[in-house]
Symmetry: C2
DNA sequence: GTCTATAATATGATAGAC
DNA sequence: GTCTATCATATTATAGAC
């Protein structure tokens, strides 16, 4: 009998599909309960899978969590990356803020996942914060500073401006329970968007156009 | 022998002291790990107390958590309560923002405790959000609207303005890990305060003074 | 690849001596 | 009031049949 090859990667499609299902379920569970609050049981149940089967795809609970963070970290930065030095400053910032508000509305669970991770000291993504994120923000802060120096934008600290944009836009995802409790209703995405743009950008119009 | 009285409350001072110690330790642990992430062991260790002894003062872990939230909920609202309809609008808002920034800096752990509770759906303080908090915000939004109607403040949605103030000021406590990673240093309270006041209030100066 | 059963551990909570 | 010892349970993770 000719040498039987070591088993090749069969059913890669099923594997990919199941990994997707697990990550999807895990996002729902982790974003509600945090890393420690979530149990593998809950994730398995939501993914319609037995616990051992789930642990066949991801050996440890932590592996699912890390995969989930990595899976979305890059998307998260895309709108900031898109800030174009050659564009009109107010239009660029407006586009950025709108994109962040839409991300908060479309995927509040991802926002809460990150919020939770950072709130707890960012043990898993510390390197990302101090590396790629710091690097990108430095670059874009320079762009904003350049706009201000050229009189196209009123002066303000670029770093704190970026923090303010993050804080306000993510607030609607992370603290939606509070927002809805205070307003007494489910927040309307569009009206919040309009109000936020107004509050954050009005003060940035240059003095002498 | 005359009838011995049922034991009176002896050592109430020690009890009060120990409860204080426990709450102090619990704040540190819960604010880092959240309700589920925190263990009674950790809290007891940090309070220099045995676990059973701690559970003599608070029968269940949840009791400590609730006591902690109630213990600080009221303080949390004080600066907003102090917003004075008779005062100068920009000065009042400036004072409010500054007070919130100082609270974030002085007690980031309390801020994170609330952030965590709300992030996870606010199971313990839902009534507080829909009751006293909603009530107070409605009242103060009315004050802001009144200022705007009288031309003392540029127009903006009062509710979303309050949300923006909360979001930005609490960001420095809740996401301090990220802020410090991006800035590459520990944030200076005073410069952040100045920048935040500038970003949030500049757009609110009335058009025709 | 998927399951049942179970090991190994962590943790909330209690009993009972002192 | 405080301690040591321990129970009961929940949960991560693995073994091994199918």
């Amino acid at each position: 009998m000719p040498h039987a090859k070591a088993k090749p990667a069969i059913n890669t499609r099923i594997q990919a599909r199941n990994k997707e299902l697990i990550l999807e379920a895990a996002l729902e569970v982790f974003s509600v309960s945090g890393f420690r609050g979530a149990t593998v049981d809950q994730i398995a149940a939501r993914a319609d899978m037995s616990k051992p089967n789930l642990l066949y795809y991801f050996r440890r609970k932590e592996d699912i969590y890390v995969a989930l963070l990595e899976h979305t970290l890059s998307d998260w930065l895309e709108p900031l990356r898109a800030l174009d030095p050659a564009g009109d400053p107010l239009a660029e910032l407006s586009r950025y803020i709108t994109a962040k508000m839409q991300m908060s509305e479309a995927n509040p669970m991802a926002s809460r996942l990150f919020a939770n991770e950072i709130l707890h000291g960012a043990p898993m993504i510390e390197k990302f914060l101090k590396g790629p994120l710091k690097q990108l923000v430095a670059e874009k802060a320079e762009v904003i500073r350049f706009w201000m120096a050229n009189g196209k934008l009123a002066h303000a600290d670029p770093y704190h401006l970026i923090f303010a944009i993050w804080a306000v836009t993510q607030h609607y995802a992370d603290f939606s329970v509070q927002v809805e409790a205070v307003l007494g209703r489910r927040e309307n995405g569009r009206s919040a968007q309009k109000a936020v743009l107004d509050i954050l950008l009005r003060g940035l119009r240059p003095r002498q156009p």
